[in-house]
């Protein structure tokens, strides 16, 4: 193993957070970090630990098939409610997305705590405002979201291509439906 690859390996082992190629370069200095990462990833194939890329950041993690021997006995602290799970999925598949859009897809208002839980977990962040009437605040996922759910990038989201092809991720033409509902309720 060459010096650069050793250095990259050591930096990734020592870091308490995933590192981008630039981060790594800042520690190991001159050299082809990408090539070293590729060499390392190959080295670890078949190991109990593997090198993975998540949203442009690299880290070592244990192999998924060993989950059963490592899984802590304690309860999964991050068990999300159904509302939070759906909201997270909607944000991930539609980002950036406003609260009103999330509510339109789910057909119910989101309780205040739902987005808070996702932001506190570090999976969701605000992502500016849409330049539209009311300038609604937008939400998007974070790099930690990709890291936590083991996604190389958002393109890696399960089934995203099929959903896109089926038009199920298109912007909602909600106005008509909503209007219809309101008119009806006025009449009724």
């Amino acid at each position: 193993m060459d010096d650069l690859t050793r250095a990259v390996e050591a930096a990734l082992f020592a870091s308490d957070a995933p590192l981008s190629i630039d981060d790594i370069a800042a520690y190991v200095g001159e050299g082809d970090v990408e090539q070293a990462l590729a060499a390392l990833a190959e080295r670890y194939v078949g190991h109990g630990v593997e090198l993975v890329e998540r949203g442009g950041r690299w880290h070592f993690q244990t192999a998924p098939d060993l989950a059963h021997i490592l899984r802590r006995t304690r309860e999964d602290a991050r068990r999300l409610s159904r509302a939070a799970t759906e909201t997270l999925a909607i944000i991930a598949y539609h980002e950036p997305v406003s609260r009103a859009e999330i509510e339109a897809i789910r057909g119910v208002q989101i309780s205040k705590g739902t987005l808070d839980v996702l932001m506190e977990a570090g999976w969701v962040k605000t992502a500016g405002r849409r330049e539209a009437p009311g300038r609604p605040l937008l939400y998007a996922t974070t790099p930690d979201f990709l890291t936590h759910f083991g996604l190389a990038s958002r393109r890696d989201l399960p089934g995203i291509d099929d959903l896109k092809a089926a038009g199920l991720l298109d912007p909602l033409d909600e106005a008509v439906f909503q209007l219809q509902l309101e008119n009806e309720s006025d009449e009724g």
């Binding site: 870091s15 308490d16 759906e86 999925a89 991930a92 989201l157 399960p158 089934g159 219809q180």
Partner: protein
């Protein structure tokens, strides 16, 4: 996939559907579960049958005197409207057409279903901290901050100059001021006294000047000169009341 059970909320049988409205997250959630109970692909559901099921469900809930939230009733009204439109002979002037509306409802259900499925699939992934683990005791990478102090030679010399200037022994120099000495004043007052015949104010003896400092000096010196001349018996002083004008005249 084998984990189908995990990803799709279990389809409730009719009895379960009848129990309450508490379990549903809004009318769309209820509709989606009713649609799934049709046990066909969401593309192929019968909207008319779905509307019928929804309305029946609400009827049963009413019969059981369950509290029904307003949004369920709004949806019921809208579905009843949709149903009547779908059953009536086609009116080409209505836009959007009832079929279009039915299609939109179907799309909404598909969309919610897709997100529900996606959420379940996300949760079922190998999650960091649950299924896969990062290093338990990383040594940590340290960022050592070092200050690159910005200072040039001039700053250094100026600083020394500042220190020296601050601590130099102070030497006080009285700036030059135009003054009338007492000697000048005595000479001037005695000379002018000789010309004055009667009581005259002391100010009348002062030289004409634009310099207020010199004027004040001349006034002070002339006053002292007047006192001195009075002491010598060469002039008389008179003042009618305190702070009134000081008058002088030749004593001879």
């Amino acid at each position: 996939m084998g984990d189908e059970e995990l990803f799709i909320a279990p389809v409730r049988d009719d009895e379960a559907l009848n129990l309450s409205l508490d379990g549903w997250e809004g009318p769309l959630d209820l509709l989606l579960n009713l649609a799934r109970a049709q046990k066909v692909d969401l593309h192929q559901i019968s909207i008319l049958a779905l509307v019928e099921q929804y309305l029946t469900y609400l009827e049963q809930a009413k019969a059981l005197r369950l509290e029904i939230a307003a949004d369920y009733l709004v949806m019921a009204a809208w579905l009843a409207y949709l149903k009547s439109c779908l059953l009536l002979p086609k009116d080409p002037t209505v836009d959007p057409s009832p079929e279009e509306l039915a299609l939109r409802l179907q799309l909404r259900l598909q969309r919610l279903d897709a997100m529900r499925d996606a959420g379940a699939r996300l949760m079922g992934r190998d999650r960091l901290g649950r299924d896969v683990f990062s290093r338990g005791a990383p040594e940590g990478l340290k960022l050592v901050r070092k200050s690159a102090w910005q200072i040039g030679a001039f700053d250094l010399y100026a600083a020394y100059g500042r220190v020296k200037a601050r601590t130099q022994p102070a030497m006080h120099v009285v700036a030059h001021r135009s003054v009338m000495t007492l000697e000048d004043a005595i000479q001037r007052v005695s000379a002018l006294l000789g010309q004055a015949l009667d009581w005259t104010t002391l100010e009348a003896f002062l030289p004409v000047t634009a310099d207020p400092q010199y004027r004040r000096s001349a006034l002070a010196s002339s006053f002292v000169a007047a006192l001195e001349l009075a002491r010598q018996g060469r002039l008389e002083l008179d003042q009618r009341e305190p702070f009134a004008e000081l008058l002088v005249r030749n004593a001879a």
